[in-house]
């Protein structure tokens, strides 16, 4: 019966091609607009580390006082000072933890014909590799002992390894950074979490994959400044040491807290830490601290661009209008066939049969609209770089789930739109229709 109704539907659609074309186009455009904007929204609101997103936390400590917090809805600053980062590292209340910042280092190739270049580089502690589930192709991270001894060691990315060592196992070999030599302890496999959660503050959540990790302790010793934001609420004074011990905020901090109990304990530890600073006279205000996990943090950092939300909303509104349009056109189409319905009903077809027939016909329209929508979504995803930053645009792709979703939305939406016209069609009185002929 399904196949027969489907055939009937196709035949009826061919009967007035203009009306059919209108419906298919309305659905196609509506679905394509929604799916294109959804592809961006999906990419930007992605959970970059689902297996651990509820175990990794960013602590925030208010070191600037209520006057500044007031400007930010009572929130503490988004980054922390060197003083606090070192304080939290020393107290070591989390299973794993790391302070981090983007370090501006130049890579000097051993081959004299190659020019020096930059890669995205982060200064971290040894715990970072296990914390962030960073995959390794060769070797691994450095040790906590090497953190303590400020060792000249480095972990490099796959792309960098291909560039410098032609993809060979380079563990134990040397890399020249800013004119100094570092021993490679590990080569990462492809690792490109999207959004780039561990440094959403400096990157806005989207940047090229990190290709180089170096020890935080070594970078501080060499006085390598941050490549990211540095915010001061007052003059830090002259020189590196004054800056390091100032209230300027420039560091990220992550703590791994596997259970809720540990997270709660850490939260009260943070309050205690801030209270201690208050007693010591550094803070002249009550503790104001936060502890956010990955998802909460990305939300707080507003990683999903406002453009992605606005365009998704406008596109959904657009789809709704297309559906209202389809309801009208389907109504016109079905009511035109009142006499045909009358004959079918008179010959014994139940109302449910009429429902079946017309809903299947609508589904056929939806399928055609979905196919057109798929084509237009392809065009849309291709054109997305017009609106969004290239770093965001490269994440919007037409993959299998999106293809299936496009078709599903198109068919489902059309069938839902068809309910009212179909109900009206099923209400047709057979006697009345037959008589008027």
């Amino acid at each position: 019966m399904f196949a027969y109704y489907f055939q009937l539907g196709l035949r009826s659609l061919r009967k007035n091609p203009l009306l059919t074309a209108l419906m298919v186009m309305a659905i196609g455009f509506g679905v394509a607009a929604s799916m294109t904007t959804y592809s961006v929204f999906r990419a930007t609101s992605n959970n970059p580390i689902p297996q651990k997103s509820s175990q990794l936390f960013v602590p925030q400590i208010d070191n600037w006082g209520p006057e500044d917090a007031q400007r930010n809805n009572g929130e503490p600053p988004q980054a922390i000072t060197y003083t606090d980062a070192i304080g939290l590292m020393r107290d070591h209340r989390a299973k794993r933890q790391t302070a981090l910042y983007p370090a501006g280092l130049s890579i000097v190739p051993a081959d004299a014909n190659q020019l020096p270049f930059h890669e995205n580089t982060y200064a971290v502690y040894a715990d970072a590799f296990a914390m962030f589930d960073i995959p390794f192709r060769y070797g691994g991270g450095w040790t906590a002992a090497e953190d303590d001894s400020r060792a000249a060691v480095a972990v490099i990315g796959k792309t960098l390894n291909d560039k410098l060592f032609h993809g060979e196992n380079s563990v134990g070999r040397e890399i020249n950074l800013d004119g100094r030599s570092y021993r490679i302890t590990g080569v990462m496999d492809h690792w490109d979490p999207q959004p780039l959660f561990f440094d959403a503050v400096n990157t806005g959540g989207f940047d090229d994959p990190t290709q180089l990790f170096v020890p935080f302790t070594r970078m501080i010793e060499l006085k390598v400044p941050t490549n990211g934001n540095n915010n001061c609420n007052k003059d830090p004074g002259q020189g590196w040491d004054n800056w390091l011990h100032s209230e300027c905020i420039w560091l990220g901090f992550w703590a791994e807290l596997p259970s809720k109990a540990e997270a709660d304990a850490y939260r009260s530890y943070l309050s205690g830490y801030a209270a201690e600073q208050q007693r010591a006279g550094r803070f002249r205000w009550a503790p104001n601290v936060r502890l956010r996990n990955v998802v909460e943090w990305l939300d707080f950092e507003k990683v999903v661009p406002a453009e992605a939300k606005i365009s998704l909303l406008v596109a959904l509104g657009f789809l709704i209008i297309c559906l209202v349009n389809t309801i009208g056109l389907l109504l016109a189409k079905f009511m035109r066939r009142s006499s045909e319905i009358g004959v079918r009903r008179a010959l014994g077809a139940a109302r449910s049969e009429i429902y079946m027939q017309f809903l299947i016909e609508a589904a056929a329209v939806g399928l055609a609209g979905g196919l057109l929508g798929l084509l237009l979504t392809g065009v849309g995803v291709y054109g997305i770089s017009l609106i969004f930053d290239p770093q965001v645009a490269r994440l919007a792709t037409l993959d299998v789930p999106l293809v299936l979703l496009t078709l599903l939305v198109a068919i489902l939406a059309t069938v839902i739109a068809a309910f009212y016209p179909t109900w009206r069609a099923a209400q047709v009185q057979p006697a009345w229709q037959l008589k008027s002929n």
Binding site: L19, L22, M25, A26, F29, G30, A33, E67, G104, S106, V108, L115, P116, F117, H118, D178, G179, L222, P225, N230, C232, K234, D235, P236, G237, Q238, G239, W240, W243, P305, A306, E307, K309, I310, S311, V314, A315, G317, F318, I320, I321, C322, V324, N325, I327, G328, L329, L331, A332, K333, M335, R336, L386, I387, F388, D389, Y420, R424, S436, N437
Partner: protein
Amino acid sequence: MMLQIKPILSALRRHKAGAVLIALQTALTLAIVCNALFIIQQRVAHLSAPSGIDEANLLVIENSWADKLSKEDADAQQRADLMVLRRLPGVQDAVASNSYPMRGGGWDQFITLTPDQTTAVGDAAVYLGDEHFMDTLGVKLIAGRNFRPDEIRPIANRENVMPPVTIVTKTLADKLFPDGSALGKPIYAMSNTPTTIIGIVDVLQTQSLADWQMRNAYQSLIWPMRLVGNAYYILRAKPGQLAMLRKEAVKALYAQNRMRVINDDGVMGYAEVRQKAYDSDYGMAVLMGVICVVLLAITAAGIVGLTSFWVGQRRKQIGVRRALGATRGDILGYFMTENLLISVGGAVVGVLLAIAMNLWMVTRFEMHRLSLFYVLAGVLLLLLLGQGAVLAPAIRASRVSPVEATRSV
């Protein structure tokens, strides 16, 4: 015409569903089109904001040293670089700075009028540069004087020195000293040492163009310093020489010293800077424009479709009316008026929806209030669209022959 309204209303009661659908579609379309037009206008207004600099001839090169240089070495290297750049044929002038207008963010300073003031009078974008800065960027001095070479001092990254003198934009000067007396006055930038305003320039755009920074637009200041660490070289080409300089300048820098990093995307003309800075504005305007056009087309198509259906349904009645003496104009008028009634109904709902949608976006996305002009423009657009769409089926209806009255169906 007026007399027809009553019969039209009673006829509409017979096909409520269709009328409601058209009205609903008109309302929703109006709501979205009003807001989309408004977004387009706002984004386009951003796009046309002037920067105050000679964009057509400017080239920015991001330079960083590949080995860790002492301040003295870095200073010597930078002097050598600037010498090379300024001597290149095709270069009018060159300067080293910490940033450039429309870069997308950078160094900002709270500015106060006294050292102990806790709330800033204004936020200002800080540009470091020597006496060549204004000439290189093509910024116009409107009061006071330029820096003298002996006032310029080299500073390293993170070095925190307050310069004794400063040049500010007119916007910043007016914000700090509304009475126009800025020249010669001291100001403070989170420090106890004052800096004196010695010059005022006309327009100089800030580094960040983010929405939340818009209240600080054009509030910039120039400090007589040369950042000797990693810096941006800004070159002003002689007219028509920019394309040639792109390659030549980088080549000359590497010839001077190859232990440096200049990325491919670190060399930009202002066309690219502007495109990067306004990418999302331009894209949003295009997207909203496309959505508006397609939406209007779909709504028009929907009206054509449903009205055609009604005409088909009522051929017999039209025939009867024609047989009873109604002219073609009467029939045409009937359908046009019918559509106008439905559209007006839809427009009323649509205006409310448009305003509600805008208010919601104001709270969620820090957008501005919708101006009434866009609502009225949208209403007019949709009424005209409705009338245009209904014209073809209405003309077809007016051509129905009176003979139809005698036919069944």
